[in-house]
Symmetry: C2
Subunit: 313 residues, 2 copies
């Protein structure tokens, strides 16, 4: 099995990307091979520096780079030999089983939609993220930014997608699905979440436990947190910033350390025909390594096939 | 000047309410009198217990109580002699200059809309809350729960209301107004926030600094954080829960202590014709005291007159 990494993606690329790939290669030895995608002149010298530790890494050359500030759709079209475009072609052709990048988030989404495409039956793919639970487990939250405005049916599907991920990748037998709202009661929420509540309540594919509130993010009330991409993005960035403030203020804590994006690695795009993961722009080697591990776990679990099966009407 | 407190409101009423009133009476001595509203049999014995410390407290008797779980609109109508209904009548008649309650939030909102009513020109009053800033200051965020679904024009007005509060009550000369979104760029956001961005940009009454992200809650980017009541409620409850987790995990920190609702006291309803503040259900005496102090500050600043003037077309 091959897992691809955009060696040019992220604020500290290609150094952090290659360093993360070297770490992941050790952990994945005998299970999967890490494929780097990047320009020969930037990546090859780094591989030589690492010597034997980089021996199993494969380099697929690309000649262009989509920068962080570029317009996603335009850049993706105008740079067909960018590391992101090449990565998606390798993914779509089946050469690699997962593609990870800490580069331009928008371009990663555009590439997913144009190259890999949504699973038939999925209205809108979503970006998922993970929240550590106080009881030691891990929950999944989606959408965290792909869809600012959602219809109730989209939220319902996010519940299904998250439930499948929780079950097959996180190994949670009967994932509890909750809907983020502003009150526990069924009648509380926006017009959209109230309608989504009714859809989720009768959906036989999910174990819906009702509404959640902002305070339920880290407790064990739900394994899957459903929200629109606007709300999810605000939650995610707020949690990250609170963790950052704690670090600045030298508050060291085991639980909050798990809120750190580095532990989590990356955000999978769920509901597309292959495994794609978006990493944080500031990704460190450790974050890159965990993103690659996550890509491996998604491929190993066959999550895409599970999603395809589930959405086959 | 008289500031009224619902002595029957909150999980620990009337004990916590009376204890908080006694604390506030000390701080407000010579400036304002605290008026308690509650049943004789529940409140009078507590006042006697406090002896001279409670000497300046006035008790206005009420015979009914709206419980936390009751349907707000029904309860408000069916219990005309409840402490909340009596409080709003005192407020509306000008007997008191502010009314505070840690009781049923919905009933407090209903009372505000039915008795005190919205300021002419205000589309929808909002509930505001406060966020401590890393630089030592305090920001205001609204709406945090009164309006789950907002039109762009409502968000624009929340910017104006928050700006007036920041200026006249918090004493910030030229409050920076930001719009919570999922990206800094103008084009990022939901359909509603994108439209609100355009309205705020050309609004001469606010110093609009553009979009905020979840990570900007505690930094000095904006003094006023504008959001719909759904998003604001999720943010508020999430911040509270992270503080609670820190307390449980014995992480003691000066900055995060200011996230504690007790420090903040209560959430004013802005855009109505009088000063009303809603406290947390679990309010301690300290929280009650701070809520009363906030009521005093709002009355002292004449914030309602400022809002009326500003919305006079």
């Amino acid at each position: 099995m091959k897992i691809a990494l955009d060696a040019m993606g992220g604020d500290f690329a290609p150094q952090a990307a290659v360093a993360g790939a070297v770490l992941a290669a050790q952990q994945l030895a005998g299970k999967a091979q890490v494929v780097l995608i990047g320009t020969e002149e930037a990546v090859r010298p780094l591989l030589q520096e690492y010597g034997p530790a980089a021996a199993t890494l494969e380099l697929v050359p690309s000649t262009q780079v989509i920068e962080m500030g570029e317009h996603p759709a335009k850049a993706f079209q105008q740079k067909p030999d960018s590391s992101i475009a090449v990565g998606y072609r390798l993914l779509h052709s089946g050469t690699v089983e997962a593609f990870c990048s800490a580069g331009n988030t928008g371009a990663m989404l555009v590439g997913a939609m144009f190259t890999v495409k949504a699973v038939p039956g999925v209205l809108r793919p979503a970006i998922a993220n993970f929240v550590p639970k106080l009881d030691g487990g891990m929950g999944i939250m989606l959408d965290v930014g792909a869809n600012a405005d959602c219809k109730p049916e989209m939220l319902e599907q996010f519940g299904e997608l998250g439930s499948l991920y929780a079950q097959y990748v996180l190994g949670i037998a009967r994932p509890k699905v909750g809907l983020m709202s502003l009150g526990e009661e069924e009648g509380k929420g926006s017009a959209v979440t109230q309608a989504a509540h009714q859809l989720l309540k009768v959906n036989p594919h999910v174990h819906f436990i009702g509404n959640l509130e902002g305070r339920d993010l880290f407790n064990d009330k739900a394994d899957v947190i459903v929200c629109d991409g606007f709300t999810g993005n605000v939650i995610l960035k707020m949690a990250e910033s609170m963790y950052d403030i704690m670090v600045t203020r030298q508050l060291d804590d085991e639980f909050f350390a798990r809120v750190n994006y580095e532990t989590i690695g990356g955000s999978p795009i769920l509901g597309i025909n292959d495994n794609a993961i978006i990493g944080h722009g500031v990704s460190t080697p450790r974050a890159i390594c965990n993103m690659l591990m996550q890509g491996y776990q998604m491929a190993y679990a066959g999550i895409v096939d599970q999603i395809k099966d589930s959405f086959k009407s």
